[in-house]
């Protein structure tokens, strides 16, 4: 039984998102605050044993606000009518909750948090626990469908209003009465929302494959279909060197208790232990010190009573529970290393964390129930581990889940964990606008490229390299040379560009021929990507006319241009026009192709553009050599002026500097000339990226 697909609607940041789960491990990655933990919380509250009450925070803010604005008038009208409590409540309920009798009156409900589940089984599998929820007779279908919904009912909402009536009423009357407090309306709306939220009740239905034809089932019966366990991110680990918590030891013994051998061994133990205690005549000592003294008094009293009290004796009984408790108390997990014994806490948190997870898995394994959906969630298993350890552990976990046939959901924000799994196992939670998040399902991404063998092998390779960075990033910059990266890193520390530093920017170096390969990923993830490239027209063109009619060797430019203008390669002039018309914003508006444009003094590379900007000349304009030398020493820049030329242009300088581009960029940065030399095309690109 496999939990195949989950759709989450109207829950916190998730307005509507669907993702599939793999048969073994599904990795849910995402930056902080992308909704990973909320998502796990939701699953735990539905499938787990811990009852988490529905909270106001679960209602998406945009929906909550729109609803509050809508119902506010209903509340204020009902209160201002001045009817008695009961009537006011029933009026409000009638207007807000749709009537069961007359479904035409729709009521005003917040679109409810709902989760749709699809569970698959294979032909040979035993489905007795799920048979009650089959909704087809189709021999080719192997799925069960469930919807879990959080909504108030007329009764529960009435109940909540009754509870909160006085508070609501008093907030309302504050609005009516003149007073100094501000945002009184907001306070009432807030209370209304709280009341609504507290009346929300869970319900569960099984349905057909289009999630229609709903039939009720008890939420508790739905829960029974899952063997669900979760290791929270905030798990207890022994980091205090005092070693008092001993979580590992406890987990180990807990695990051993499930073993048959342990049971048979421990059976005889009470008697074996009792014997030496008896031999020591401990009872005698106890008796001597206490009972004998007491007995005298008892004797005296009992004589007066008719002497029927009997003698006091001591009895010893050692139960199996007592033995387990004793063993728990006296066992310490320690590490043995090259002959030294080290305590539980000595190997660092990362190690303890790993062992803790393995022990939990081991004990879960024993409870696997083939009739149910077995699902084991680990939140951030990478905590406290260094990158290499993360990678090894991730690979181990994956093997473990596969072997034991456990379905696992693992959340992470580590690129190492991402790298260690396949693309098809990856799901990424990412914000989609300020109030919406989505889970991006890479199994479908992988499927979409599988028809193209070149692209397929490209992504397999790329996955190991820069891919995981893109997954977590807010923005992506694809660049060709190291100098571009140096420039932007520096820029991010300066003035108007500091907001770049607040974003997680993935820098990915690409060869010009390959930039187009990223199109699928950019469009899939909807991540804003700035692609930096050079105009790179033939160097020989050295006047305006020949430059404008020149063509470029840059594969990125040629291929991207052909997206909007299929056919022969563009001339520089075509590209200038293309750039000006903003047609260089591509891929549903998620990619910006930046290259030297009309305002960059006919430059064809980054260095040319920087130098022409600094010295206000066109790239091909020749000037005496001495002039260049003076400028170089005045500004403290490092570049090579061709020795054999009397007069030269910036193009010549850049060609001769081709081996020292990095030194050049260092000099720009160290002399604080970055802003002064920033080419327009990069400026525009970054402005687009930051928006």
């Amino acid at each position: 039984m496999i939990l195949k697909e989950i759709t989450i609607q109207n829950y916190r940041k998730f307005i509507n998102t669907t993702f599939s789960l793999d048969d073994d491990i599904t990795l849910l990655a995402g930056p902080n605050n992308s909704g990973k933990t909320s998502l796990i919380d939701l699953l735990c509250s539905i499938l787990g044993n811990s009852k988490i009450p529905y909270s106001v925070a679960n209602i998406p803010v945009t929906l909550a606000k729109a609803w509050c604005d809508q119902v506010y008038t209903i509340f204020s009208e009902s209160f201002s009518a001045g009817d008695e409590k009961e009537k006011t409540i029933s009026e409000i309920v009638k207007k807000i909750i749709p009537s069961e009798v007359e479904p035409l009156e729709s009521g005003i409900l917040i679109p409810p948090t709902s989760i749709k589940f699809r569970i698959d089984y294979s032909t040979g599998e035993d489905i007795r626990c799920f048979a009650d929820y089959i909704m087809d007779f189709d021999p080719d279908k192997h799925s069960f469908y469930f919807i879990y919904t959080f909504n108030p009912t007329a009764v529960s909402f009435g109940h909540a209003l009754e509870k909160d009536y006085d508070k609501l009423k008093s907030r309302y009357s504050k609005i009516e009465n003149p007073g100094t407090e501000t945002n009184k309306v907001e306070l009432l709306k807030e209370k209304i929302l709280c009341t609504y939220s507290s009346s929300i009740i869970e319900s569960c239905q099984f349905t057909d494959s289009s999630f229609e034809n709903e039939q009720n089932l008890e939420p508790s019966d739905f829960r029974k279909l899952f063997n669900f366990k979760n290791i929270y991110a905030g798990r207890p680990l022994d980091d205090q060197n005092i070693g008092r918590t001993k979580n590992l030891s406890k987990s180990m013994i807990g695990l051993a208790c499930l073993d048959e051998d342990w049971k048979s061994m421990i059976e005889d133990l009470p008697d074996k232990i009792l014997q030496p205690i008896e031999d020591l005549e401990i009872k005698k000592i106890v008796r001597k010190t206490s009972v004998d003294g007491l007995s005298e008094a008892i004797d005296e009293v009992s004589k007066a009573n008719g002497g029927n009290s009997g003698d006091m004796i001591l009895d010893m009984d050692i139960s199996e529970e007592a033995i387990s408790a004793l063993i728990n108390e006296i066992t310490n997990a320690k590490y043995q290393l090259e002959g030294y014994i080290l305590s539980e806490a000595s190997q660092g948190l990362g190690y303890s964390n790993m062992i803790f997870i393995l022990l939990q898995l081991e004990s879960y394994k024993r409870n696997i129930n083939p009739f149910l959906v077995n699902i084991f969630i680990i939140e951030e298993p990478e905590s406290h581990m260094h990158p290499q350890m993360q990678n090894v552990f991730a690979k181990y976990l994956r093997k473990y889940y596969q072997q034991k046939k456990i379905q696992g959901l693992i959340t992470t924000h580590s690129s190492e964990m991402v790298r260690a799994t396949d693309i098809k196992n990856l799901r990424v939670a990412r914000p989609d606008g300020s109030f919406d998040s989505k889970v991006y399902d890479f199994s479908s991404f992988k499927e979409s490229i599988s028809a193209d063998p070149i692209l397929n092998s490209f992504y397999d390779w790329f996955y190991e390299i820069g891919f995981s960075d893109i997954v977590f990033a807010d923005r992506v910059i694809l660049y060709e040379g190291d100098t571009e990266r140096m420039l932007i890193r520096k820029l991010a520390t300066l003035g108007q560009y500091t907001s770049l530093n607040q974003l997680y920017i993935a820098f990915v170096q690409v060869g010009g021929a390959y930039a187009l390969n990223y199109r699928k990923l950019i469009e899939f993830l909807k991540v804003k990507t700035l692609i930096l490239t050079d105009l790179d027209y033939e160097k020989a063109a050295n006047d305006e006319a020949s430059i404008k009619s020149a063509t470029t060797t840059n594969a990125t430019l040629n291929s991207f241009y052909s997206i909007t203008h299929p056919g022969a390669g563009p001339t520089v002039n075509d590209l200038y026009i293309w750039h000006e018309a903003k047609e260089n914003i591509l891929f549903d508006g998620y990619a910006y192709l930046a290259f030297q444009g009309k305002s960059d003094n006919f430059s064809r590379t980054l260095e040319e553009a920087m130098l022409t900007k600094k010295y206000g000349v066109k790239a091909y304009e020749k000037k005496p050599k001495e002039g260049w030398s003076k400028l170089r020493s005045d500004d403290g820049l490092i570049f090579t002026i061709p020795r054999d030329m009397h007069e030269c242009c910036i193009r010549d300088i850049v060609i001769h500097t081709s081996n020292g581009k990095t030194d050049f960029m260092y000099s720009v940065i160290l002399k604080n000339l970055v802003e002064a030399m920033l080419p327009n095309y990069i400026k525009e690109g970054l402005t687009w990226l930051m928006a």
């Binding site: 599998e125 035993d126 048979a131 009650d132 089959i134 909704m135 021999p139 009435g158």
Partner: protein
């Protein structure tokens, strides 16, 4: 108790349309807020009502169920206790021994006795006694005496005996539940009311009896709890009618004729205009007039009394005729053909119709491809369905079940060919979906054979009718309401006995309320029972011999009764004649007409039906009266109708 009033027990009278269910829900919600740690028990009359009530309330510290399932779980835990077994044999020992002896040589009992003997070696009281390890509720209409199985009625009776004999169990009830609701008390047996009354009396728990005597439709209650009812607190009253317009509410108040039950129309309903004022049509030919009125009000709910007419209208006339002819559903029996044919819940007391309604639900689910709900039905009715066949534990079972169900549903739903009900049973046997025992019990019972040869389409017609329900009998489901109601006044001399025109005649000349008529009926019933008990036979079967032997007793009793009710208007109008006739001419024939409850009962039930029928109407109410049947009291009747608020045409 102050002034004999039980402080913690309430009688909440809830006339039609007064919002009783809403009140219970409200009381539960309020009680929970103020006493979150207290347990609430709510007893409803049907599972359907229980489900209705459960909606939106959750199950936290709240137990809602029918009286049968409640008692079965509450008292059932003691059913294997030695002392309870002893009590069982004390109460049922005679009946068991009588059945073993079978002096009348009833062939059915002979077969059943032989079956027992083959199974257990011998049949004797001692063997039966030692074989019964626990008693149980058998969910059927008959006791299974040899197996300790309690029927519907006997679960209630036996539970009362258990509560009586073991006060500790009674105490457990009041300690567990701090607040108890008994819904539709008027249809509960006196045993049930006594169980709760005695358990709660003098404790801190609260007990609410909710209902409306006007809406009594079952004959479960025998009038032996009247005194206690009077001593309950009456301070909660539902005085708003949320259903009907003021003109109809006014009529209802006049018919009820009891100021303490007076209802006010709801403000919303005062603003609604009817198409016509409530009216009575006195017709020379009812069917003709009905046709023309139906043309004007297409959606009117037609309330018929005689069931045959209703089932003819539905298209299931033949089926009704055959079921009604069965011994177990004729005349005096507790259940009648209507209950059996219209009860689509799992409480249907008849094996065949319970099965057919199940097949119908399966067919509905089948159309929706909802196999899951079918499987749940199978599991919930494990006494009917064959577990081995109906169990789904892998994918191939799903495919297999589809094929089996196809066979059954094709027989059930085939519109072109006309299959008899029997062929459904055959398809169930063929597919082995239903247990062979279950079907052979039906097929083996000769009583069923005319029913089994009826076309299945007649049953489907009933199902369709239950979906739309714009034809109803006056006994139909409670709580149902309609914009426009046509009430067709008719008499019925078979079950249910209704003397509508006798009621009209009495009502035209005597001023009485429900309480007064009821009080007379229960008292008169008591007197009759006394006579029958002392005679040890019913007057309806009296022979000349029996009469001559008892002539003095009968004469004395007739004089006593006439004397006792000398100035009693109701008695004189309804019942005095046969006694006077008998005293003039004492013979067996004249004696047969005396000491019968049917006349006052038929009048009383006509009174209730007339009220309930009128209360169904939200806006438009029309009563159809047969001109020929009122000639002797036409003038007074018209006056009375006008006083009540009708326009007479």
């Amino acid at each position: 108790m102050a002034n004999g009033i039980a402080e913690n027990m309430f009688l909440v009278n809830a006339p039609a349309g007064s919002g009783k269910t809403t009140l219970i829900k409200k009381m539960i919600v309020e009680h929970r807020i103020h006493n979150p740690n207290e347990n609430i028990l709510c007893i409803t009359y049907t599972n359907r009502a229980a489900d209705e009530l459960k909606k939106g309330l959750g199950t936290d510290k709240l137990h809602i169920s029918t009286i049968h399932s409640f008692l079965n779980s509450f008292v059932g835990i003691y059913f294997s206790h030695r002392r309870i077994l002893d009590l069982y044999f004390e109460l049922y020992g005679d009946a068991i021994q009588k059945r073993i002896a079978n002096e009348a040589a009833d062939p059915k009992i002979i077969t059943s006795n032989e079956k027992y003997a083959t199974k257990f070696g011998t049949l004797s009281f001692e063997v039966v006694k030692s074989n019964i390890k626990a008693i149980s509720y058998n969910e059927s209409q008959y006791n299974s005496l040899y197996y300790g199985g309690l029927s519907h009625d006997d679960l209630l009776y036996f539970s009362e005996q258990v509560f009586e004999s073991y006060p500790v169990i009674r105490k457990r009830l009041s300690q567990k539940y701090q607040i108890i609701f008994l819904d539709e008390y008027q249809d509960s047996s006196a045993s049930v009311m006594r169980i709760f009354y005695k358990a709660v009396l003098g404790t801190n728990s609260k007990l609410y009896f909710l209902g409306d005597k006007m809406q009594q439709i079952y004959k479960n209650y025998d009038g032996t709890f009247e005194l206690e009812l009077q001593f309950l607190r009456h301070d909660i009253s539902l005085s708003t009618n949320h259903r009907s317009i003021p003109a109809i509410v006014n009529i209802l108040n006049n018919i009820y004729n009891d100021p303490s039950y007076k209802q006010e129309p709801s403000p919303v309903n005062t603003t609604i205009d009817p198409d016509h004022l409530p009216r009575v049509l006195i017709c020379p030919n009812i069917p003709e007039r009905l046709e023309s009125e139906k043309g004007l009000y297409e959606k009117a709910l037609l309330l018929f009394l005689p069931n045959q007419k209703k089932f003819d209208t539905i298209g299931a006339g033949n089926l009704y005729r055959q079921v009604k002819n069965m011994d177990k559903y004729s005349f005096v029996s507790q259940t009648d053909a209507v209950d059996v044919l219209l009860d689509d819940t799992e409480e249907n007391p008849d094996s065949l119709f319970k099965l057919l309604f199940l097949i119908n639900r399966i067919s509905t689910y089948f159309e929706l491809n909802n196999l899951g709900s079918i499987i749940q039905l199978f599991k919930a009715n494990s006494k009917i369905f064959n577990k081995d066949i109906c169990m789904v534990s892998n994918h191939t079972d799903k495919i297999r079940l589809k094929e089996l169900l196809n066979i059954i549903i094709n027989t059930y739903c085939e519109f072109n060919a006309s299959y008899a009900i029997d062929s459904i049973l055959d398809s169930l046997l063929q597919t082995n979906v239903v247990k062979e025992d279950y079907i052979s019990l039906i097929k083996g019972d000769e009583e069923y054979s005319p029913v089994l040869s009826v076309d299945i389409s007649e049953f489907r017609a009933i199902v369709d009718f239950l979906k739309t329900q714009n034809v109803s009998t006056q006994h139909g489901v409670k709580g149902e309401s309609h914009d426009t109601v046509f009430f067709i006044a008719e008499d019925s001399s078979s079950t249910p006995i209704v003397h509508m025109y006798r009621f009209f005649e009495l009502w035209s000349s005597v001023d009485f309320s429900l309480g007064e008529l009821e009080q007379f009926y229960y008292e008169y019933l008591g007197l009759i029972k006394e006579v029958i008990n002392s005679l040890e036979f019913k007057l309806s079967t009296i022979t000349k011999d029996q009469h001559d032997k008892n002539i003095k007793y009968l004469t004395d009793k007739s004089r006593d009764i006439l004397d006792h009710y000398k100035d009693h208007e109701i008695f004189n109008k309804l019942c005095s004649q046969p006694y006077q006739k008998y005293l003039l001419n004492q013979n067996a024939t004249n004696a047969k007409a005396c000491f019968k409850e049917s006349v006052p009962y038929g009048t009383l039930s006509a009174y209730r039906l007339f009220y309930v029928g009128c209360s169904r109407a939200r806006r438009n109410l029309t009563i159809f009266i047969d001109n020929d049947k009122i000639t002797s009291f036409e003038g007074k009747f018209k006056e009375k109708l006008a006083r009540t608020g009708f326009v007479v045409e």
